[in-house]
Symmetry: C2
Subunit: 547 residues, 2 copies
């Protein structure tokens, strides 16, 4: 069998190589599409594969496709001469690249691009203003890389959020996104949240980024736009694409035309948990799994590939964000009815010198408590990755009907060494918070929601009750005598009569634990509509919400 | 219902308290057995529970039991007067304590005891020689605590290994135990591996530990013997015990007498994965799970408690050991046919400043690749705990027929952030090593086995082949010109003829990766009996094996 591989996206290369190990009588040729916005092949991967039945032609590029005759039209890079190549099987691995900015001048200045972790690793910060334009994961990767290099300053112009399909868009909930934004701001990153990009100006010397509000003289411009799949050849050949341009595949990674397969960033896959096709960029962390499936499909075996959201981790200075599975928005898109539970707790006994606060948000289905995903933030990257990986394993272990639930998270054994065995890990805590929410207790407002209702406190719709000890509450009582109430949680049962009958009670403590206890007390006393501030004052502080 | 709780082991206290929350009409009294080698109750736990239907009597102690009349004979501590207490339901939570040393003088000197993590946290190092006598987990906990305090010196006298039921015995394989012992020795801990304890001498002033080889003047003696359950009351009452003295329970935590339950260290449970009853000390990390089961059983509901080996983590200076599930010995005891796979690899991209080598040993069944446990070592406690917790989650997620296999470990998504997405995590690597072993390739010798056959190298039975680059191999070629052979792995296929026909080839590289490649090459060339040194030179170095 003669295989033609267009593009060098990792899953394609690895999958074809794996197939050839099993079927050494087959051959494969690798070439690029004529218009290839991706970086050239990773020398290590392709170099390792050459000589194992894979040929690579750098001088010819694919410029057309005829699936009925099974030929690819190629153009010679040096002479411009066209010719045809026959294939038995065609594999698209053309990947995806950050979308264009669609503003004047973008092609006239040198611009770095971040569309994957490898791009972020290669990104060089400039000693001046580094402007990053984009949104979603690529934006996070670019900013992370620049912060690590600690050179120059960073300014962000959000752009292209409308292109963020939920699957390739934000990896974090609104709550956690708010905390990351606040952290970036504290680190000196400027986020021009309300600017609209208008143009890029300048030549190779001075570059200027022009928005509707300002002109920024910068030393580096980075395109970190959401991914756009490189599929014009497939589109021209009439192969079925999804609305964003990905080649739609089935569980055998087969496209709509016979003997044509697709994988990597240019494809969209059948989702294991989701009704919508999952774009390749959302599963970029799993090239091995796709490669295995492609190799099986090429050999005519059952591949049964179903995409799941992979685990990820990105560090911003001294704060790491990580997650696995679906965010609330992604879960909604996939047809679930998601809720989320927030817990902020020390990642080990608080008197240990390296203890730090970890924030976890567990996403689960309101109908059956099924775990859909988990995301989190914390200063200790390893400690956070450990909790995320444990849930990743839970999600991986169940397929079909037996799905892990929030109770599995609450009871999970975590291999940390507290001085006393009965201490509850932060991961168990967030599982318990979720279980409580399912049981009808523990409803809360997010930091952003608190911000809104606190600004509108004059309306009297909400009563703000601080249930901590007086030492914690005193500064707020002083600042807001008319709106900040205080009853320590231990005294609440005896002092219920002090609370006005009207108004929804909003309970605040340091991380939400005592507020939950107070909420139970209030519920037993007939105030069942009371809500807690999820994550308490700590969540407000981490989100930059000021009281 | 009137509940009598003898002992204050955490699962008993929590379980009874949980039951009373659901059935506030029931009452419970807590008392101690007359001869109680355990520390007195944890003030925090019991204090919190008093006033929630639990009474505690410090002045009476249980000294007898009559299960047919459902009475407990008690003796008043101050007067010696005896009386009876009736019960509807009896719960044994008397726990287990480090066994006696059984040598003269052990009761004449003050001796600290470590039988659980709480004991280890309370242990105070002395500014002199601290002698630790014991084996198994208690020994590890004691040494860990002393090393953290960095005061005085530590000398270990192994004692009581014969009492180590495999379940409560060593938490590590022979390979990893050897590495921990070498690390301790490098840290200045003295291990008198071949001494036999004879007596303890001295009064409250100078204490001497006497063995068959030496007399040690010490400032602190610590009993870290394996656990012995405190069950004399149950034994006298004719309740069925296992050979080590634990109260045998069923999945309802019920003992052999009616209306008598047992939990915690004094009990032995039905195992989920094991044919043998599992002693409570082996599942000391799961008081919450036992408490939930006890509460359900007390209420007459289905408890279905089946013990599994919990996750654990112990730190020795700058090296942490952690694990979950079964060790090879424990797996054999449980009726499995275990194999283990070793991998030593950087826990992140090697050029990252905080990268360090992690050693993982995956235990799996040779018949079906089922994962039975994983243990590991490494300088980064969080990084190690994350991998252990992920496997813990895999093990927890499957019950019944669908067990996780080594392939699940090989394909697990780990939330670390390598610069390039195709990097394979050390956890995935050990899964792949295990899969290779199941496929008939990758057989190896442990560091201890290499030590033995290297000492016997004159026999000529084994040929030692270093497959690294010349720079790595040169020092060994110089030292052992007659026995150390060298062919870089990349040249092996062309230089096969240089290898003698006789003798089993033992392949060495830095961590085992290149040796595996060489082993594949040798197998294709008809030398299928070649073996690798598991973990390569790194494993030898970590185990203190010198070449």
């Amino acid at each position: 069998m003669r295989i033609l591989l267009i593009g060098t996206d990792e899953p394609g290369l690895l999958g074809v190589a794996r197939h050839l190990e099993a079927r050494p009588e087959d051959t494969a040729m690798v070439l690029y599409p004529e218009f290839n916005p991706l970086p050239e092949f990773s020398c290590m991967t392709l170099e390792r594969l050459l000589g194992k039945g894979i040929e690579f032609s750098e001088s010819i590029r694919a410029c057309g496709l005829d699936t009925s005759s099974r030929t690819v039209l190629v153009r010679h890079s040096h002479t411009g001469r066209e010719s045809s190549l026959d294939y038995d099987t065609l594999v698209f691995a053309t990947g995806s690249a950050p979308a264009t900015l669609d503003v004047p001048g973008e092609f006239l200045v040198p611009m770095a691009r971040v569309g994957c972790q490898a791009d972020a690793a290669r990104l060089r910060a400039a000693d001046g203003v580094n402007v990053v334009i984009g949104s979603g994961m690529h934006l996070l990767l670019a900013v992370s890389s620049l912060m690590t290099q600690n050179l120059g300053t960073i300014e962000i112009i959000p752009h292209g959020e409308d292109r963020n399909e939920k699957h390739q868009g934000c990896l974090l909930s609104d709550t956690l996104s708010g905390m990351v934004r606040h952290h970036l701001t504290q680190c000196g990153v400027t986020i021009h949240a309300h600017d609209t990009l208008k143009a890029i100006e300048g030549g190779s010397g001075a570059v200027r980024v022009v928005t509707d509000r300002r002109v920024i003289d910068c030393a580096r411009v980075v395109n970190a736009m959401p991914a756009a799949p490189v599929t014009y050849l497939a589109a021209d050949a009439g192969i079925t694409l999804d609305p964003a341009g990905h080649i739609l595949t089935d569980t055998q990674l087969a496209a709509s035309a016979g003997n044509v397969f697709a994988c990597g960033g240019c494809a969209a896959f059948v989702g294991r948990d989701c009704q919508q096709p999952v774009p390749g960029s959302a599963v970029a962390a799993t090239p091995k799994a796709q490669a295995r499936a492609l190799a099986a499909a090429l050999s005519g075996e059952i591949a049964d590939f179903r995409a799941t959201a992979g685990a990820w981790s990105i560090t911003f200075g001294d704060l790491t964000a990580a997650g696995t599975g679906l965010t609330p928005d992604q879960a909604r898109q996939c047809g679930f009815s998601p809720l989320s539970a927030l817990a902020i707790q020390f990642d080990r006994a608080h008197f240990m010198p390296d203890a730090s606060l970890m924030t976890l948000e567990l996403v689960f289905d309101s109908r059956d408590g099924r775990v859909l995903g988990i995301q989190g933030l914390g200063p200790s990257a390893d400690a956070l990755a450990g909790r995320i990986s444990a849930v990743s394993a839970l999600l991986a272990a169940r397929t079909g009907d037996g799905h892990p639930t929030v109770h599995d998270v609450a009871n999970l054994e975590i291999a940390y060494s507290p001085p006393f065995a009965s201490a509850m890990d932060v991961l168990n805590t967030v599982g318990n918070v979720a279980a409580n929410i399912l049981d009808g207790i523990g409803q809360g407002v997010t930091a952003q929601e608190f911000d809104r209702i606190w600004r509108e406190r004059e309306s009297g719709e909400n009563l703000f009750l601080d249930c901590r000890e007086l030492g914690n509450a005193a500064p707020y009582l002083e600042r807001h005598p008319d709106h900040w109430r205080h009853i320590p949680q231990g005294e609440l049962a005896k002092r219920m009569a002090e609370l006005p009958r009207d108004g929804r009670i909003v309970i605040i403590c340091n991380t939400g634990v005592r507020a939950y206890e107070a909420q139970v007390t209030l519920k037993h006393a007939g105030r069942g509509d009371a809500v807690i501030v999820e994550g308490g004052m700590t969540a407000l502080r981490q989100s930059g919400v000021e009281v």
